[in-house]
Symmetry: C2
Subunit: 212 residues, 2 copies
């Protein structure tokens, strides 16, 4: 049966799972979650995922959440994008780093800068997070200098995790022009057969909410 | 050969690895990292770990970083604290959640509130992070209601990850009194044979830096 991914276009965390499913050739379809009208805060959604977040993966009624868990599930099932056996700890290392230092802060900063009304944007918080993100971009840039992929010689779920927020058009302080290694690597990922932009892969994007 | 964990007492991320090593009965010893005098920002340390963070695990010269990766390495090597085979995705789910929503923010908030000079503490950032952390505690509390452990019927590295910052005495907005399920669970972990407080398990603690 076709697996379902509960998601929405603006979520970089959901994008990691959706992109992994797509590039691995999994049989899946998106289910739109109306985050901007509060769906993830409803009791029904909390029953589906106590963490109150997308993505939620539903395979024949078996529920799995956290983008990294879903990516591992897909990689293990298909044998794709997992990296070589002796690269497993390095793949996990970058996925954990992404959750700890990269996507967690990129997601929040992009939300605060783009999806809150202008008068509610907390300037001090945004500046603090941007400084921390700059350190994260620098780490990624250093590691990617002279490399095509984060781990080994082929794309893995580590790449698909760390890139989660970096293709979005809404400004949050990241510019590919500032980081040539990251820029090249994002190009490598986007050149993979079947790659799609988050707004082409999942339902929902900011233009749906435009007042005009 | 005795494995080495580069760490310091104040790091809850290092604590997760140190506690896992200890409870699994691993042959290990700590190597003090002088974080508060800038050691993690030195070129030598960056060569050891491009991410510029503790913990760093060194086993016969093989380097592994990110607390979650080290915990998995120890669990896989010893067969302890990994949970049952069919619980693996759930264990990973909580470790990822910890990195994304819990320790990342708890570590920063505790740092800002305790280890920066009073006049440099960014009030708006602290308030923002405390609000996000409160949502994280609520998620943990809901999940732990009626459970002794995060996954299944025994302690796993998921528990040891999520508890990383919750035994420290320095205030950052978390009080066990507010969360009875979390309080009971922290008691369960602390009752495991061999459990130690972070300041008893790793070198370095705030009293070393007291002016008097």
């Amino acid at each position: 049966m076709t697996a379902k991914l509960h998601c929405f276009g603006e979520s970089g965390n959901a994008y990691k799972a959706a992109l992994t499913l797509t590039l691995a050739g999994y049989d899946w379809e998106p289910v739109f979650v109306d985050f901007f009208n509060g769906e993830t805060r409803t009791e029904a959604f909390r029953k589906l995922n106590v963490m109150g977040e997308v993505p939620v993966f539903d395979e024949d009624g078996r529920i799995l959440t956290q983008s990294g868990s879903i990516m591992y599930h897909v990689a293990n099932r298909t044998g794709k994008l997992a990296g070589a056996r002796d690269e497993a700890e390095e793949v996990l290392r970058w996925i954990l780093w992404d959750n700890h230092k990269m996507s967690s802060q990129a997601g929040s900063t992009r939300f605060l800068m783009n999806f809150l009304p202008a008068e509610k944007r907390p300037k001090e918080v945004i500046a603090f997070m941007q400084a921390r993100l700059k350190a994260a971009y620098a780490t990624l840039e250093t590691h990617l200098t002279g490399r095509d992929w984060l781990v080994g010689d082929a794309p893995t779920i580590a790449d698909l995790s760390c890139c989660g927020y970096l293709y979005y058009p809404e400004p949050f302080g990241f510019s590919r022009d500032d980081w040539p290694g990251i820029d090249r690597w994002l190009g490598n990922i986007a050149a993979l057969p079947g790659w799609k932009h988050p707004y082409d892969l999942m339902p929902g994007n900011p233009s749906d909410r435009d007042p005009k």
